[in-house]
Every structure is written in C-alpha cells, then in structure tokens.
Symmetry: C2
Subunit: 393 residues, 2 copies
C-alpha cells in the first residue's frame, strides 16, 4: 500500500467515527456503516500464492446511487482460485487501482457469501441484512468488504437455517455435480454412473444428488496407506452404492465386479465423471456402454486423457468437459434456480456439507496466516476444504 | 476345399449345362442362370491376409422362394476389411459351412455392388438386372456370386450413367464424410471445418460435399519427399480451400495463417475430422472455436488421441467418433437416401471418384493374385483404392 493511501485510510477511519453524528440527515443511509476499513488478499502479479499474495487495506466510502456495500461472511479457497493466482487458469483476475494501491492489484477468490450492510438510494430489490453470492466469477471474494452494484450479486431468498459456510460453497462444487449429472446424458432413476475423485467436493455432491434423484453410483477413490476403508464407509453413508479404489478398478477382477453390480451387465453405465485424468479414465471407459459420455471437470493427476481410437469410433464414447464458471456466466437464471434447490436440500438436512477446514479471518489476522491457508490448499495438507470465515471484521 | 465338395461342384457344373433343357417348365425362373460356379475369398481363421485368405469354389443352386442370386460387379478392399481379417476389428466375419467347406469359413469384404441374375418366385420389388448394394456390413463381398434374401440388399434405383466402381464404393467413404459433416455440428454455408488425412477417400469426399454445401475446408496432408505440391493442387481442384502439410500445421506460423484464412479469427472453426490420431489432433484442436467437435473415424498413425484437460474443460471441445457400419445398420432409410444423393451427384459429374487401382477378377484369376491385392492395401503400396472388378466370372 502506498504511504499516501495509508494516511488517507486513517483520515477516513477518523471520519467514520464522527460521521453519523455530524451529518444526521444522512444517518439512515449511512448509519453506523459509514466508511468501512476493508482488507483484501490481493496480488499485483501472477505467481505462487506465498510469493505474490499480500493483505491490502483500504477504505470504502458510504454507498450512494446504485452502489451497495457488503461485508463478507465466508469465502472458500478453491483449487481454481489458486490456479488463477499462478496464472495457469484461462481467465485472469481483474487488476485495478480503484482500491487505492499505487500499482494495479487484483483481489483473489471467486466464491463466497456476503451480507449487505449499506446501500445507496437507487438500489431496488435488495435490502440491508440480505445475504448475497456472486453472479459471476472474478468478483474477488477474499476480502472483508466490497462495494459493488446489484447486478453483480444474487440474493439468497431464504437464508433461514443456513450457515455462511454452506451458502458460501454452493456455487461451485454442488453446481458442477448437478449440471454434470443432468446436462450430458438423460439418466433415468435406477441408472448407474461412475466417477473418480469421489471424495472431492464435487464427488460428494454428486453422490448425494444422485441418491436423491434415484441414480446409482460407482465411486473411485485413491488407494491410501491408511484410512481407505474409513473413506469408503464415509462415502457410503453419504449415499454411494459402490466405492472402490483406483487399484481395484485397474485390477483384473473389476470387470466381474461391475457385471455383478449391473445385473450381469444388463444395466448400462452411460455416464462417467472425471477429475483425475491419466490411465484411470481408460480403466473407467472400458466399463461404459456404447454411446456413453465421459465428462471431465478436473485433472488432479496432471495427466492428459489419452483415448484409444477404438473407444471413440467403435464404442461411440463422447468426451466432453464441464466448466462451472462459464456455465454460470451463460446461465444466470438456471444457476439461481440450482443454488436455491441445493440450499433447500441443505436446509432440510438432505445435503451434507463437505468436510471444511475453516480459517478464521478477523480484523487483526495477520497476512502470513491467510497466505499460509491458501498455500496449504495448493499443497493439499488441509483436512478439508479451506474456507475463510470472517469474524469481527 | 474338401475333396467331396470338389466332386459335388463338378457334378453341379455338369447339371447346370443341362438344366434348362431338361426341366423346361422352370426355364423362366432358372433360364441360363441355373447352378452357378461361384468363387470367394474366404478365411477359416483370423490372421494376416497373406496367411489365411483362400480362394474357395462352390456351387449355387437356382434360387427358389424368397431367395435370389447375385453376381458381383465391383467390391473394394477397405482398410476395415483387412482389420477384420486380422481380428483387430470389433465385428468378426460370420463363419459358416453353408458354402460346402468341411470347416466353417467366412467370406471377406463388406462393401460392393452386384447384379441380380436370378430370383425365386416369392421375391417382390427386385428384378433381374437390378444393381444392389449390401444393406449391412458382414455380407462378404469378395466373391463372384452369392445367394441371399432381398432384406439384405438395397436396390440402386437409377444406375444410368454409373460405373460399378462408383456404386460399389458409395456406402463407406462418401457416407462417412457426409454424416460427419452433417451430424455433429450444424454448419452454415460459409463456415469452416478442418480435417487431417485429407487425401484419403473420406477426405476427398468431405472436400467435395463441403464445396457443394458451401462449407470451407482446411485440409491437412502428410508432408512427403516428393509430390506434396501436386497433391495440394489435386485437392484444390476437388474444391479444397486450403491445403497444408502436417509439418506446416505444427509450425509456429500456422496460427497467423489460420487467422488470415478466417478473417482475423472472426470465422470460428467448429468442426474437425480426424483419421490420423497422435499429436496432429492437438495441433488441430488449438485452432478450434470454443464448443467445437472433433470427430474421429480412423487412426492411421496408430497413436491415441491425447487430450490436455484444458481443451475439454476450458475450451469445451467435444471428442466423438463415427463408425459408418454401425450408423448404416441403425439408419437403413437414411443410408439409402444418402447413397441416392451421392450417386445423383456422381451422375451429374459433381462428385469425382477417388483414385482407384482396379484388380481384375476373372473366372480363372489365381488365388495368389487376389491375396496379393489385399495384402497390398494393407501395406499401402497401391496407387489408389484397391477394388476387385469382376469380369467373365
């Protein structure tokens, strides 16, 4: 932060404390929410999170016209956020000097839930106290506060009984699972699908949605040194019909096992979901019915999908991809309906949260702690999904 | 051929010569077409063509009831026929002892045109002199004569002005090109597609059909030691808009070239056809528009299609395959319409033959010569598509 801006911010803080009483006529609009002291995790260049992420402070003036000010409640750390910082993601974060930095910076994070704390006189259909999520990616959600216009936000119509962590994670993982199960093959109740990375956020969402819709799932997890059986049990509790390890799938006996699951092969498997890549995709593809679709949404193994031509020509398999950001940008109304449906299920206790590893973000939380949480997601040493939970900011 | 059958065949031959006069009441049905001395290229086990293909002689009795006897005019040697003999094709040839062999044998070849030379009293809607093609693959077309029922045949309604070589090669290559251009992306006139293996039978058909339908084509051929420019000129004469070599496609400047062709990138390329596999597919994919389809129908390089995950997820490319045999079996009416349309174009001089290398098959042609022709297709040392043309059989 440039020195001049620091002074500016201090001046605003002072002003904030006096504002409500000195200009009482505007009290209703500004009330206790005058100038906000905001902080955000931002970058001024692409790179490894630990090298480029900085905590930046700035002030936000009272909203006027069609502006509103929101205070973030919970913002997850998704792998795509990290890839975006590294510069290996197709959309780049938006760099700006609007936040008072001397050089252009971009606020990171793409998903989250915030509460409206103040609004300008021109804002309609959205009230103080409403919870909102971002309509599109690229908003920058790793921040305590933001000022924006209503067209960037989707109001959560019914937040009763929901935790910020639940609303703040509904737009990416459950949405991805939902659309992949619905948009590529028209599965009928009783039909099977197969997926790898089944214990991922998307995988868990797919298991639960499939169960609710009557689809049956074969779920592949990575064989691990310990805890494999516990993971199998956990996914079965969520509603998985079959859970197997990658080693089991690539073993000789798996064909017979699949036959057994699918009534001697009479129940075709017409859909596969892939977030791993590499040889496991081919192992899955062998068990698919002619005409099936393999939908890729991730590449955890960093291996490409390598297709023996016979699978394409003679087995008539179709290989597609799903990118939730693009889908959401192109289908705002469908996204809203989908969010609302998943949140209803969550409220009714029919859709369990993914395991989370919350990172408390308070007014005085140090930069190192926040950056460490992001780097941890990248290096996979967290026990669940990292999520910033804002308190006393 | 078992000795007993050889004797039997000789007996039938003798009978044939006397039949019309000894049973004059049936003359109209049997007429000069009594017992036919047929020959076929057949196998009794899978393997390399040169090791397993044998010329087998047998006799065909006069047709009765719903049977009819056809005499083949022209039958091409397609790569898939060879793969089927080798056992590396998903459908196996049908083995039978109905042709008088002591062990079950299968007649090879899947495409061809024949003339009806005799029919039983129960056959309707098909007459002596009609030209027919096979409704499905697996008929066995490398034979001088066959006896079958009408449901296995499609009558060529108008053979005027057509050569047997043209009708005998309409079901595989032009059909593949036709369906791939129509069934995956709805191209509008003026839109581009890109294909590799552009000088193949399918490639040439695609160039010509595209030209007729107003689509523009970028055609990739293999860089060769000599004759590259001649091949480019030849394909341009057929209607190709752009012809480039694989080396040129994988070079740095190609992106700029594509931009130039496509009006600075404003004309998206939404369809790619692939019969090669390997790295050229990725090189093609780079120039495709978001949402485009890559349709695979062959694997001349024997390399798989290896897909960087980003192409699937972020570029939303779809990878599909096309298998003409399966399509034809599932869509008999559409196939007939498509054949008829292509033959009309051929008759009008709007659809040029692929370069062919005819192999004359006469009554006394030796087994070695026929087997050599098949092996030649496999080893690629023929100057055009190998096609058996039957004369005096």
């Amino acid at each position: 932060m440039a020195p001049s801006r620091a002074i500016f911010a201090t001046a605003r803080t002072a002003l904030r404390n006096t504002y409500p009483t000195t200009i009482p006529a505007q009290r209703r609009c500004i009330s206790a929410f005058g100038y906000e002291q905001a902080k955000c995790l931002a970058i001024d260049k692409l790179g490894e999170p630990k090298d480029v992420l900085r905590l930046h402070g700035h002030s936000i003036s009272p909203p006027h016209g069609d502006l509103l000010t929101v205070k973030f409640l919970a913002s997850p750390i998704n792998p795509a956020d990290v890839n975006q910082i590294q510069g290996v993601y197709p959309t780049k974060p938006a760099f700006t000097t609007n936040l008072g930095s001397s050089e252009p910076i971009a606020v990171c994070g793409n998903e989250g839930v915030a509460e409206v704390i103040a609004k300008g006189g021109g804002v309609k259909g959205i009230e103080r106290g409403d919870w909102v999520i971002m309509k599109k990616q690229g908003f920058g959600t790793w921040r305590t506060h933001a000022q924006t216009t209503a067209d960037n936000l989707t109001v959560i119509k019914n937040k009763d009984g929901l935790k910020p962590e639940q609303v703040g994670t509904v737009s990416v993982n459950p949405m991805t699972a939902y659309r992949m199960l619905k948009d590529f093959v028209q599965l009928k109740p009783g039909e099977w699908f197969i997926q790898n990375g089944a214990n991922s956020g998307v995988g868990r969402a797919a298991i639960q949605l499939a169960k609710l819709w009557g689809y049956k799932s074969i779920n592949i997890i990575r064989e691990r040194e310990s805890g494999t059986q516990e993971m199998k049990d956990e996914l079965k509790k969520l509603g998985a019909d079959v859970v197997v390890t990658d080693k089991e799938v690539e073993s000789r006996g798996f064909r017979d096992q699949v036959k057994e699951f699918t009534d001697g092969g009479r129940e075709p498997i017409r859909l596969a979901l892939n977030c791993v890549g590499g040889s496991i995709v081919n192992a899955m593809a062998k068990h698919l019915a002619s005409g099936a679709h393999v939908v890729t949404y991730g590449a955890m193994s960093k291996q490409p999908v390598s297709l023996p031509t016979g699978l394409l020509i003679f087995k008539d398999l179709h290989f597609d991809g799903y990118w939730v950001s693009k889908w959401s940008n192109q289908n705002p109304a469908a996204k809203e309906a989908c969010v609302s449906e998943v949140l209803d299920l969550t409220r009714e206790g029919k859709f369990a949260d993914i395991p989370m590893d919350p990172v408390k973000w308070e007014h005085n939380t140090k930069q190192d702690e926040l950056v460490h949480a992001v780097q941890g997601t990248l290096e996979g040493y967290r026990s669940g999904k990292g999520i910033f939970v804002f308190q006393n900011t």
